[in-house]
Symmetry: C2
Subunit: 644 residues, 2 copies
């Protein structure tokens, strides 16, 4: 077996063909070959067709004693609505490290949602000569993880409403009789999961017959306040008409209707649990303690109270295994989890990163992407993901484009689907220079974590030497370890070799330990304040509702959790229109919610849509199948790279 | 390679342990071994883990010239709510044929819905020593087909509401501009799928610029009547609160709310399409022509009108490949599709049966199960499934139990979850004898198709010799080719060897050609009348709504489709309480609907629930995971076999 990941040299064509044409021009290796390159044997994975395999979590146990590789996180500057190529850079860098610099490398990526794929995005596998293949398998179904999340999320939702319904019509005794029915021998038993609720209630009895009427009542009656239910149903489809709905209007439901709604599946707390869990038993506990709402007396009600935590784990037991795929240059990719980057933390999974770090071993590289700009993605990577994983990155990349920097410097608005203003297509060093304040703040914020920061400028054909030099100089002045111009979109790994070398040096020369932005044992408001300060805010303003929620979560004992800000990705501030590096603003907190199972409190800064819509002409118009060859066509005429 | 399927001899224990314990007592073979036994090499399938593989449709092309095996369908008498062991008999018979009678055999089964698995059913993999393993993989996720159906169904649903929404706020010109936007060179193009709508409108132009304003209007504006939309969303969860809902209540949806609901995923027309399709290109056409409602002028609107037929096909392209699994005795099983047995036809897929018939070859056996009693399942197997597949069965099995026959003979009501009356636990030949009228009618109806009928009596420990003889005699008197007592639940394949021999003889001695119950070219009402007559009805009564729908479908050109009756499985008549073989009743048709893509008209006899609910104590209380071993526990204390 070769120690090198250099599996294939690309023959690049100029101008770069459409993404789908590039992807289809390459015959992928059988995934067994990719697995073999990182010392995985068939017992370590389950095949899902020829080009995907689920890597079993048991690999972690097997490699427990071996050392980790370098850990690199890819963030970005505050993006335009077109996206600045963070995924593409992540993939391109890995192709450089694996196929040109002879390093062991694994790319860790999020699984994309199918909603945007059929809506406006068209896919999320990178672009140009830096892509994950096969593109269609990456973008659709994959190995079923999001489908499993949808199934689990909605089983819990059905359990909630049905329980409220059954409790409304049954006496304590009838409820108890149904929950603990006598078996053939006339003996009642608690099922295993019931002991979790009994323990929460402080009841240590093991024989149902021994419960007092009061204990029977508190055990059997969850007494969920329908108005407190925060658990929503999910679907992996852009279906705006499900944002707000009324359920329970059938005659059999006896008038117990209630307003609720659907989120897109990746917004499910179960997705965040999958991303943050560290083992099967940890996942079992997190799923069980997810809070779905409160009892009428204000006690948090969990999935385990509803008896469904075990079933959720069974539904998710394969999903916990990351999916192995490959880049265009045959380097390995682990695709796993894709939580929302605002109401959740927007990072791929801890278990994939952990497995990858062991597989590449000392001297190897794991490159993982953090959603949105560094103010959100990298911040949550450090303060939430690394906190739960106990992993330490050595290097953080910040992806920048001349286009976005010009926007931050005062360039005209950039709107997806509309032609770019001339300012973006011809040289304008002054705009770039002015925009570098945005880059500089991301650099200094990221340096604060103790990592070396490398700026990767994702070069477009219209960028000029003078513009690129301006960015390079500004980055170094702001404290970047290095700043490198990259052409991986046009050239594949070869276009990111300089970036690869810079990253290697940054990793080898890290001087400081990892430093979180805030400790966990301060108050919720103090933690929010620390993050707001990193945005440039001079203060925080809480709505009445936010105050109420903070008080409740503190009372319920959840104030020790890290904070996951739900904020626009288009500005450091709460206003998408405020580009550059705004200061002196007051950050408004509209509401505060919690994902107790995943393990974070999420303040809402402004309104977050958790269910996208479809445009008049969705991407699905261009997605078809040639039934004679079985080949798909994904016309990319309308494909726009949009940051998730 | 051995020509025999006899892979393993079971060590049976008495009394029979719980299903999960039997299943867990056997280490399944790697699915490659099972595949090899039916001459499938790795190029013919995609692995999904170690115990499942998707058999590629290309196998059919490769084996086009070779002969088919015998084709056996398993139906049943009118069941009790406890089910009479049709799946178990199907599996047991195959274990007998493969492991004891040295025949090539493939079992073709439906994929179970996860809804009932977590609700009241607990699984559908057979039972006792006649099961498909691994049980958990069979019951959950499988290879993602139902998830793909859910995704496709709901993408179409989102496309409908969003299209109505966008049409409401945009001029013809604006709509057209968005549907056919100019590309970078300023040129407009139709996407491929748009030519389907153009062709339907009789427009043969290929350049968007050439359309007249009237053509632009009719092309761009589907003008869907919101009240006519029959397409509902689906979910593979028992969620009764979604039966009737109001959507579109968010402020962004501008007051365009509408009442609709969710069905369980297996009730989706896409599931019926999957079950009835014969090739990838046939599936593409069926998905595209699914009708979702009408325009305001009464024209049917299809998935292709919405531009989404291609994307649906891409979502379903892996789902069209059947999943290979194994029985406890190592014989091969193809699991594929699981449409509802009332609003759809309740049979597993045509492509799985076709592949299986080629794989076993002449002299081999394919045993496929038809949902519900023979009045529904076998009838639809013959008149819908065989019509579309052009396959001819040689033998139809009718599964009977002493318990159900006693019920038909006048025994007390049988209720799931309640103890059986003494009548069912001690000898009562008179009740059995009286109940055989039900069996006799199923036999004569089934014989009418030109197949040999073999009755399989699924023996319970409480059945007596006199009772069993009564059934045998009644079956032969009613024209059965043979009637055999089976103990496959207790003994595995060994307990169904006599059944296997009888089936072999029945197949070898078939004398008649396949004869459908009705021709396709008569009117909808004449076809409904023919089926009603087979139930014993003396006439049919149509509601005003049913009359209206029949008139509309006839006008729209759909009257040539076969009929799929949506009727209770608990009686030949429309009233579940009428046991035995009722005659002289008038069959009421409440409404008539259509699945145009799948290819049938379905009259509703009474009210059919297409979304089950959860009981107070759902099965999920007993489904958990031992996170130390990764093993699941499915306590079977509450498992009840219920026919689907």
């Amino acid at each position: 077996m070769s120690s090198s990941n250099a599996k294939r040299k690309l023959q690049v064509v100029s101008p770069v063909p459409a993404d789908i044409d590039v992807a289809n021009s390459i015959e992928p290796f059988h995934i067994c070959e990719i697995a073999g390159d990182i010392n995985l044997s068939p017992k370590h994975y389950d095949l899902y067709g020829k080009y995907k395999a689920k890597v079993l979590l048991s690999v972690l146990d097997e490699l427990q004693g071996s050392g980790d590789g370098y850990y690199v996180v890819v963030g970005g500057i505050t993006p335009t609505p077109l996206g600045e190529g963070k995924s593409t850079t992540t993939v391109g860098l890995c192709q450089a490290l694996g196929a040109f610099l002879d390093k062991k490398v694994v790319t860790c990526l999020r699984q994309p949602s199918q909603g945007p794929t059929f809506g406006i995005k068209g896919g999320a596998a990178g672009g140009g000569y830096s892509q994950v293949i096969p593109m269609d398998e990456f973008n659709l179904h994959l190995t079923g993880d999001i489908h499993a999340i949808t199934a689990a999320n909605n089983l819990l939702a059905a359990a909630i409403d049905t329980r409220i319904f059954h409790e409304a019509s049954q006496s304590d005794k009838a409820l108890f009789n149904r929950l603990c029915p006598p078996n053939k021998e006339g003996k009642r038993n608690f099922s295993n999961i019931m002991f979790r609720r009994l323990s929460k209630l402080g009841i240590s009895k093991t024989n149902p017959e021994d419960l007092t009427p009061e204990e029977i009542r508190s055990f059997s009656r969850l007494d969920i306040d329908p108005n407190s239910v925060t658990w929503r149903r999910v679907m992996d489809v852009n279906d705006r008409f499900l944002r707000k709905i009324t359920i329970g209007q059938g005659p059999e439901e006896k008038g117990m209707f209630r307003e609720t709604g659907f989120d897109i599946a990746v917004a499910s707390e179960i997705m965040a649990v999958l991303a943050l869990t560290t083992s099967l038993s940890d996942m079992r506990e997190r799923l069980g303690k997810m809070v779905i709402g409160n009892s009428k007396t204000g006690e948090p009600i969990t999935a385990d109270d509803l008896g469904v935590g075990g079933a959720l784990t069974v539904l998710m037991k394969d999903a916990i295994n990351p999916t192995l795929m490959q880049t265009l240059e045959g380097t390995p990719v682990l695709v796993h989890a894709g939580p929302f980057a605002n109401i959740a933390h927007g990072n791929s999974s801890i278990v994939a990163d952990k497995i990858a770090l062991k597989l590449v071993g000392p001297g190897g590289f794991v490159v993982t992407e953090a959603g949105f700009g560094a103010d959100i993605g990298t911040e949550k990577f450090m303060n939430i993901k690394c906190r739960y994983s106990a992993l330490t990155p050595q290097c953080a990349i910040i992806v920048a484009t001349i286009r976005a920097l010009k926007m931050h410097g005062g360039g005209p608005e950039v709107v997806a689907g509309k032609p770019l203003d001339q300012a973006y297509l011809s040289e304008n060093v002054a705009l770039v220079e002015a925009g570098c304040v945005n880059l500089a703040r991301h650099i200094s914020n990221t340096k604060g974590y103790g990592v070396n920061v490398v700026v990767a400028v994702n070069k477009f054909s219209t960028d000029t030497e003078a513009e690129l030099n301006t960015v390079r100089n500004a980055a170094l002045a702001a404290g970047a370890y290095d700043a490198v111009i990259c052409t991986h979109h046009a050239h594949g790994g070869k276009g990111a070799v300089d970036l690869g070398i810079a990253v290697q040096q940054a990793c080898e020369n890290v001087a400081q330990p990892l430093k979180y932005l805030y400790p966990l044992d301060i108050s919720i408001k103090e933690k929010i304040g620390a993050i707001a300060k990193s945005y440039g805010a001079s203060g925080v303003e809480y709505s009445e509702q936010a105050e109420k929620q903070i008080e409740m979560y503190s009372r319920q004992g959840f104030s020790g959790l890290p904070i996951c800000m739900a904020k626009t990705q288009y500005s450091f501030s709460d206003k998408a229109s405020e580009k550059g590096a705004p200061t002196g603003f007051i950050l408004p907190i509209r509401d505060v919610r919690a994902s107790i199972g995943a393990g974070f409190i999420y303040p809402l800064v402004g309104t977050m849509s958790t269910m996208p819509g479809l445009p008049t002409r969705p991407c699905f118009y261009d997605i078809d199948l040639d039934t004679a060859t079985g080949k798909e066509s994904w016309s990319s005429s309308l494909l726009v790279t949009v940051l998730m």
